[in-house]
Symmetry: C2
Subunit: 394 residues, 2 copies
């Protein structure tokens, strides 16, 4: 069999820049590593054992990750930069082909993934990152990890495949011992805000799994980053009632798979949302798009837990009634409604027949105490393919 030898080096950069040259060409020869020893590795489908031996030559994780120990203002690889006087973070992302669903718009899972990613990159850039899930050096010293207690996401528009987006994120205080993290997702081309999100986080002792106060050492690390700016007005907080087994829809025996676990060995958040949404009937999902989701976390879910997903439609009352009717009228100003088209509230109802929101519960199966993993509420809007519009503003 023909083989391709290459250099398994870790400290030599064969090509340092994106200049269109071929970095691996140099790697096609077997050369000395640091002048100490010479070795070649054969490569191909049949050399799996050889690859295993090679593994030891890949650089240490610390060098490969290169987590900054001091605050960085820009990161060209992450396309990130510090904003808001140096305490907030902005990252430019292109919506990838596998992040969109059959309708070519980003899935809710992709959006949640991008929020997680930008949050962690914010900590990464801050110089505070101590481990994989956003814990600071002070938190690691005190054996503390972050636990999310609440998350709210509002999506006005879904990004499409290839669209360039900007995601801003920043943090603030939440009570004495918690942290708030907010996000804005915006079109890079137009500045239009597509989505906004907020979340609250508390600290948990990694061993005892009990919630912890924020130690002064950690407060000193974090508080310089806190600002008083909210992506979502706090008035929109509302209590989510607990569902019981009389809920209209239920999926049982949901079992986390290996691929559902994140680097904390926990079921990933995104999987929770998928379990929730998949409990809603397909017929509804075909014509609706998620407009908002609120998640209230109650306990951790491990890899061996069997999960039940309960879901109850909240029929009828759309929350639009809370709004100032003048604002709705002003929204409709300038629209050329078709002759006979209903006005204002009537039009909005026409756009929203059927349930507009669902209440959700994920719980551990077979437990009666402390069984709640997460409560949720989702609101939905009908998919509008295309409404002809008199003045095309594009």
């Amino acid at each position: 069999m023909a083989s391709l030898s290459y250099l398994a080096c870790s400290t030599i950069r064969c090509s340092a820049t994106n200049n269109g040259s071929e970095p691996n060409k140099m790697g096609l020869n077997s050369i000395k590593v640091n002048g100490t020893s010479s070795f070649a590795a054969v490569n191909g489908v049949t050399t799996t054992s050889v690859a295993a031996v090679e593994n030891v030559y890949v650089a240490k994780p610390q060098i490969r990750q290169n987590i900054p120990t001091q605050k960085q203002l820009v990161d060209p690889f992450r396309q990130g930069l510090m904003i808001l006087d140096g305490v907030g973070y902005r990252q430019t992302v292109v919506i990838r082909s596998y992040e969109v669903g059959p309708d070519k718009t980003a899935t809710i899972e992709s959006i949640l993934n991008l929020l997680q990613e930008t949050a962690l990159n914010h900590v990464w850039m801050s110089g505070l990152l101590g481990d994989g899930f956003g814990a600071t050096h002070g938190m690691m010293k005190n054996n503390l990890i972050w636990v999310v207690s609440r998350m709210q996401l509002l999506v006005d528009h879904y990004p499409i495949w290839g669209e360039v987006m900007e995601i801003d994120t920043w943090v603030g205080a939440s009570g004495k011992n918690g942290m708030r993290r907010d996000w804005l997702l915006r079109s890079q081309a137009t500045g239009l805000v597509f989505a906004r999100a907020t979340s609250t986080w508390v600290m948990m002792n990694k061993q005892t799994r009990r919630l912890s106060k924020m130690p002064d050492e950690v407060k000193a690390e974090l508080s310089p980053w806190f600002i008083d700016k909210e992506a979502i007005q706090s008035e929109s907080l509302e209590k989510i009632e607990k569902l019981d087994n009389s809920a209209k829809y239920m999926n049982s025996d949901l079992k986390p798979k290996r691929s559902d676990l994140d680097m904390n060995q926990h079921v990933n958040n995104v999987k929770y949302v998928r379990w929730m949404v998949e409990t809603i009937p397909d017929k509804f999902l075909e014509n609706h798009q998620l407009a908002s989701i609120i998640l209230e976390y109650r306990r951790e879910c491990g890899s061996s837990d069997l999960v039940q997903s309960l879901c109850e439609p909240n029929e009828g009352v759309t929350k639009i009634e809370h709004h100032d009717s003048t604002k709705i009228s002003s929204l409709l100003n300038g629209f050329s409604l078709a002759p006979g088209a209903p006005e204002s509230h009537g039009l909005l109802e026409l756009l929203h027949p059927g349930p507009v929101s669902y209440t959700h519960l994920l719980k551990i199966k077979g437990q009666t105490k402390n069984e709640e993993i997460v409560r949720g509420r989702t609101t939905w809007k009908r998919k509008i393919v295309s409404i002809p519009f008199p003045t095309d503003i594009n």
Copy 2:
């Protein structure tokens, strides 16, 4: 309720550059759009209907995607550039937090997703892209789509969270009517090749679903991009036998979910691989890492198909025997083996107890003719946490 008004404009860029300013600040006021009409949109969890009305103000997909109609040499957003005398494509990517598994290394699904993404971005940059899945303008005119017939991926090292990688991809002729696409995945910092992949593609008529010759018009579009360069030596081609129901492991009643469909309304490739891998016993997966995968595609899988995943371990014979024993010896040169450690072939066997490869079949349940979706072969290496190494080359 407090509300946040903002401008739902699509043509005005509130902030054009990543200068750390606040693009959405300007958007917090209601201002004239193109001088023709003024409107404000109320925002918050309770305004889903309002958001639906707003939708019409988001720019057209063509403008939001901004697919180039001429060849581009660089794309700052995708961090891509043309290489190999302008016919190949390189993209820099950072491995994201949600692309890694519990061991903090990129999952095989993430790697396959990144290959798909860079392939499509290559076509995107070429100016040839006619629709979402890589079809050229000429293909669209002839009602043709791409169908993958074979894919092979070899992974020597798995990237870890936060690691910066470069992915190169290019295309070549495959027979008269097909195309080969290859990839190299490389550490940006060291140039070390982590993975290589190759694939072959043919054209299918979108309506008749029959394979098609490559029309001259399409050949004229594509052939200037073809080069004769292979990421994997073609000698490694080997036939994969068809499994029957006597296979050792079987998962039945696999049903595609909404979230498994890609923008072509088909079950995504990555889902195939997940179905295959999940059929292998957990106990094996815990200690092994995928070293290579070959996929031979036979037919499409739609959203209503019930799928069976069959899997058979290929016990015993490791393919290392095919190798030139001098190469293996030279690989081991310079290693300080522990006293009494077995040499060469013996060491390799020590690293590989049990099966090293599996044969796979995904098929449509309940059909006896034309039921094969994809045949596969996976090879595996034992996970090596850390082997103490006399000379730390980092």
